[in-house]
Symmetry: C2
């Protein structure tokens, strides 16, 4: 075990954008003595092996986690419970299981029900990503300068939390702890609603007649292109996010709709001063994002 190794053996269950980025960090920084990965999809397993992301690519989830002191679940959140049940028979006593899902409440419920006694579950969410998916899309710098939120419950082993936090810090992230409920509310605003809105506006264009659609694509540099990038994110991952964070998403969507009705009314009534005031206030938020170095 090198000096920097934090774990004996890390098993990655799911080796997409996040899993493969983490694999690259672990390899580059020597954070584990050994690594293994499992993916449900044969093509993904093949590609992960070709890329040499881990020591072993294994086609059975329970075997993939054998001997691992850390297991990282990186699958669409709706599959978390099923995946936890599939790895459960192979988990070593004392192993730590963590995840990277964008929803925490529903994942905690599903995963904890499936894991055996003596295994610690540390729910986690690195706030990082791109619109690309799959093992080719990952890169070791993805987590640098970003936040990673861990949402332990009252009975989560504190040493396990600290060990998972150390992994994310080694990947370049700053770790924050909060409740799963609070995480899900904040992420509904910062991530889930923005994705829903982007999917919606791009979908509106997808339904236009062909000639207009081609023109919209042609002139996408006017603003639309940024939405197409966000709306190119993994469909299954995002389907699961919305279904598993339904209450917070629908609540925030109601506020979004009220606010949009206010803008719509101001446009219809020719109320320039209302529009200018709102458009000026939003600049302060942008300054905040730049100052927080999250731009």
């Amino acid at each position: 075990m090198t000096e920097t190794a934090l774990f004996e053996r890390i098993a990655l269950i799911g080796i997409g954008l996040i899993g493969s980025s983490l694999a690259r960090v672990i390899r580059a920084k020597g954070l584990a003595r050994a690594t293994a990965a499992y993916s449900r999809t044969a093509a993904t397993r093949r590609r992960a092996a070709e890329l040499g992301l881990v020591d072993q690519v294994i086609d059975d989830p329970a075997k993939a986690v054998a001997g691992a002191d850390l297991v990282v679940i990186g699958v669409p959140v709706g599959a978390s419970g099923e995946v936890a049940a599939a790895i459960a028979p192979g988990l070593a006593p004392g192993a730590i299981v963590t995840d990277v899902g964008s929803v925490k409440g529903a994942v905690i419920e599903a995963v904890r029900a499936a894991l055996p006694e003596g295994v610690a579950f540390v729910p986690g969410h690195p706030i990082a990503g791109t619109e690309h998916s799959g093992p080719d899309a990952g890169f070791a710098e993805l987590f640098e300068g970003r936040w990673c939120v861990l949402t332990p419950t009252a009975d989560t082993d504190r040493r396990a939390v600290e060990r998972v936090a150390a992994l994310w810090r080694a990947a370049g992230s700053t770790v924050d702890l909060m409740s799963a409920e609070h995480h899900d509310t904040v992420l509904a605003i910062t991530s889930h609603i923005p994705h829903l809105i982007a999917y919606n506006i791009v979908s509106t264009v997808a339904d236009l007649e062909d000639r207009t659609k081609l023109e919209v694509i042609k002139y996408a540099a006017g603003g639309f292109r940024d939405f197409t990038r966000i709306a190119a994110s993994d469909p299954v991952m995002w389907r699961d996010v919305f279904l598993n964070n339904r209450d917070a998403v629908l609540e925030m969507l109601a506020t979004f709709n009220e606010d949009l009705a206010r803008l719509q009314r101001a446009i219809r009534r020719n109320e320039g001063e209302v529009l200018e005031k709102i458009f000026t206030e939003t600049r302060a938020i942008r300054r905040g994002v730049i100052e927080a170095r999250q731009d």
Copy 2:
């Protein structure tokens, strides 16, 4: 006049992001023998002079256009008519006036009413920009690889259209001709609605209580940050866009709202297959944008 000069004297009325970028192109490529600029704001005039963007910065719009064979109006679209009236007394017979506004129907109406006989108005719109404003924000490469739409009417002088088109081609853009009405419909989708939605979601956050707002800023990398960038655009420019392209914006907003209601219903009813289908279709639009090199 150098070999590449297309005009004797170009006067820029408004020297913000677009005007100052064009000034930099004109200077870098020697597209005019002489240049002048006017801005309503003293601080902007001072800054344009400090940056050496043009040969002369002039504090009177009518004097600024004296002797110019091309005048480029680059102001918020709501000010177009007023600015046209202010330059009218100084315009040389045979001068060409063009603009860069994001709305064409309302601008044509306002500008043509104010211009004297013997002056050609070529309505234009370079589909390029950033979220920054003012003379410091411009750069000579802004128009490279982008589209510039010109929307001449039946009685617009064709030689004048060709001379304005030549300027934009020299700046690196490809020129497209279409009707003002069609432009305003397409831009409502590609640019105006995306900006309205971005302003709206950032405004929703601006209204949150302080603690949550700070957290949203902190975790902006989840998707929200892209919206804050778009919503940092010039407030007066965008106020004017919405008020001057009201019908097309409200019509497209109605479609957006219908589509959003469909997503909302699918989430509420747990209809995963509906969400996945929509989120998959949007990827094709992204591929189109990338293939069109407008990403």
